[in-house]
């Protein structure tokens, strides 16, 4: 195992009704995700790569979802970003 492969990405959201489903979706799509709850804030850590899928969120909230809506509740993140209409991905390059 390469030491760099273990580097974690993270994303943090405000704790509220909207993000409950987003966090649930992230947990469903990222088996190794670690969810940490702070006062008013929820932080999700994931080794190497974390993906947020539009469809998973839509299934949970029962309406169409634009991934740019993530902006509304985002507190912080770490990692390179790739965003398309369907996926929002955070990752570190592994050598």
């Amino acid at each position: 195992m390469n030491a760099i492969a273990k580097d974690k990405v993270f994303i943090a959201f405000q704790t509220n009704d909207e993000t409950r489903s987003i966090v649930e979706a992230i947990e469903a799509d990222n088996r190794e995700a670690i969810v940490i709850r702070y006062p008013a804030m929820v932080k999700i850590e994931m080794p190497g790569r974390l993906v947020i899928r539009r469809e998973t969120i839509e299934d949970l909230i029962g309406r169409a979802y634009d991934l740019r809506e993530l902006n509304l509740n985002l507190i912080s993140l770490s990692g390179n970003i790739e965003e398309s209409d369907d996926e929002f991905v955070l990752y570190w390059n592994q050598h």
Partner: protein, 521 residues
């Protein structure tokens, strides 16, 4: 242009990527009756070479329609909560009035930086010739103005009930400890546009800002300050975008030309150290000023710099970038930074617009647990001594003025990296004049650009030169009290804004208005 094949059918919605590329590529043009180099005179002198501006990517691909829509939603949400907070006297639901001092420091020290960031990004947007870079800088300039405004609006409510919040911009431009954040940002703004974005977007917003906002907002939530949590979150949702921009900017510059790498590395070294020094103020807020603490400074440093920052710099090694110089010194200092800083403000609190105090016994116990190798040995005895003196009615105030570091402008109280009992002094002679520094980090920055930093406006020097009195003051008049006059010049209400917390008007009002003790159990 593509013609729709079937005019009956509505045109297919553009993808995020297409939409963004129309905005950032389609709307730009090269000037023809003036050469581009004359229109954009500032994006070459720093030595950064850009071969293809089209390689600049905004990973969020935010277009103007989405920008205004989401920003509007954020504002509505924020002001609804601020209204509810004010209508319900939310200011009395915080842990105790000591907490308000974090807001005083924030409003006078950080909010003016938001405004400075607004100006800085407006200038950067003007000076980059790439369209997507200009758009990103423009959005951020608007965001930062929003942050300055929402912070002033939110905290203005506290100004009705607590001291020290009455004139934050006046103070920011004059007060000794506020010259630390002010000079930090003005250093960045007076650099070229590439250094500015590397300093602010990357080194500050990407690498260090989590250490400011995450503990500050969690701390506010934990201490019952709903208003601050809300403006903090609202700003932070923009901040995630700024952080992303910071990383993209640096990657873009590094990918454009191998010659850019050493220039960027030098900026990373410089702005890491400058930002880290600035965060000394945050360290004491986390460990001493929050009545209910979320995590210690050392824990935050480990989580947000050593782990996350480490991952980031691992990722950047493929460009030939290494960890910023002196990061190991910052890690060595993590068990002492907040204690040394708070002790200094305890000394000089009569000349500050916020209160200080000796931590309660239960709080000292927490500090011992969080700092097992340093607190009991090095710092607890000092606080116990001060507590005894206070009990005898001899609260200690330091009547002299401290020597400041020429670079970071912080009083020279930091200790030697390998000896926490010895004050660290460094000096340089430049054009027959001696300049003093708190650290090797600060000295290196000066030695690289001495002509810039010999002009620093050092508050203590300015006081001794007689430049910090109100117009018409006669220092030769009998009974002239220089310190009292300087505090007037700062716009302080002497006897109300600063000094010891116990027995202060804030503490008395808190008890009278809430029926709760001035120091919560």
């Amino acid at each position: 242009m593509n013609m729709p094949t079937n005019p009956q059918k509505p045109a297919k919605k553009l993808s995020l990527k297409e939409n963004y590329s129309h905005l950032t590529r389609g709307l730009g043009w090269d000037t023809s009756y003036q050469p581009m180099d004359k229109v954009f005179p500032q994006d070459k002198f720093e030595g950064i070479k850009i071969h293809d501006w089209d390689k600049w990517e905004d990973p969020f691909r935010l277009t103007m329609d989405a920008y205004w829509k989401y920003q509007g939603e954020k504002e509505k949400k924020l002001y609804a909560i601020v209204d509810a907070f004010q209508q319900n006297n939310g200011q009395f639901n915080v842990t105790d009035a000591r907490y308000i001092n974090t807001l005083k420091l924030f409003l006078t020290g950080v909010s003016p930086l938001e405004y400075a960031a607004h100006r800085g990004f407006a200038m950067a947007g003007r000076n980059f010739r790439g369209t997507s870079a200009r758009i990103a800088a423009q959005m951020q300039a608007i965001d930062e103005l929003r942050h300055a405004q929402t912070q002033a609006h939110t905290i203005s409510h506290y100004n009705k009930f607590f001291n020290g919040l009455h004139d934050y911009t006046h103070m920011h431009d004059r007060v000794w400890y506020l010259s630390v954040p002010k000079s930090y940002f003005e250093d960045a703004m007076s650099a070229g546009p590439f250094e500015f974005v590397t300093a602010i977007s990357f080194s500050f917003e990407y690498v260090l800002t989590n250490l400011l906002f995450m503990p500050f907002m969690s701390g506010a939530a934990y201490n019952g300050d709903m208003a601050t949590v809300t403006f903090g979150f609202s700003a932070q949702s923009d901040e995630s975008r700024h952080m992303t921009l910071g990383l993209e900017v640096v990657k873009f510059i590094l990918e454009q030309d191998p010659g850019n790498v050493p220039i960027v590395q030098k900026w990373l070294d410089k702005w890491f150290w400058r930002g880290y020094r600035l965060l000394a103020l945050v360290s004491m807020m986390m460990d001493y000023m929050l009545p209910k603490r979320v995590m210690s400074w050392a824990e935050a440093w480990e989580m947000y710099f050593e782990q996350n920052g480490g991952a980031l710099f691992n990722d950047l090694t493929r460009y030939g970038i290494r960890m910023p110089k002196y990061h190991e010194v910052a890690s060595m200092e993590k068990h002492r930074l907040s204690h040394e800083t708070w002790a200094t403000f305890y000394n000089y609190t009569h000349a500050a617009a916020f209160h200080t105090w000796v931590p309660e016994e239960s709080e000292m116990k927490w500090l011992s647990e969080k700092y097992p190798t340093t607190f009991d040995k090095l710092y607890r005895p000092r606080f116990e001594h001060w507590r005894e003196q206070q009990a005898k009615g001899e609260r200690f105030y330091n009547g002299t003025l401290p020597m400041l570091c020429q670079l970071c402008q912080i009083p020279m109280f930091f200790t030697e990296p390998d000896d926490p009992t010895k004050i660290c002094y460094r000096e340089t002679t430049y054009r027959d004049e001696k300049f003093h520094f708190c650290s090797d980090g600060c000295k290196d920055i000066f030695d690289n650009e001495p002509e810039k930093y010999i002009h620093s406006w050092l508050p203590v020097h300015q006081i001794y030169q007689g430049n910090c009195f109100r117009p018409g003051t006669d220092p030769t008049a009998p009974g002239f009290d220089p310190l009292a006059e300087v505090l007037q010049y700062y716009g302080f209400h002497v006897g109300e804004d600063g000094g010891e917390y116990l027995g202060s008007p804030d503490a008395k009002n808190w008890k009278a208005w809430t029926g709760k003790p001035a120091v919560s159990e």
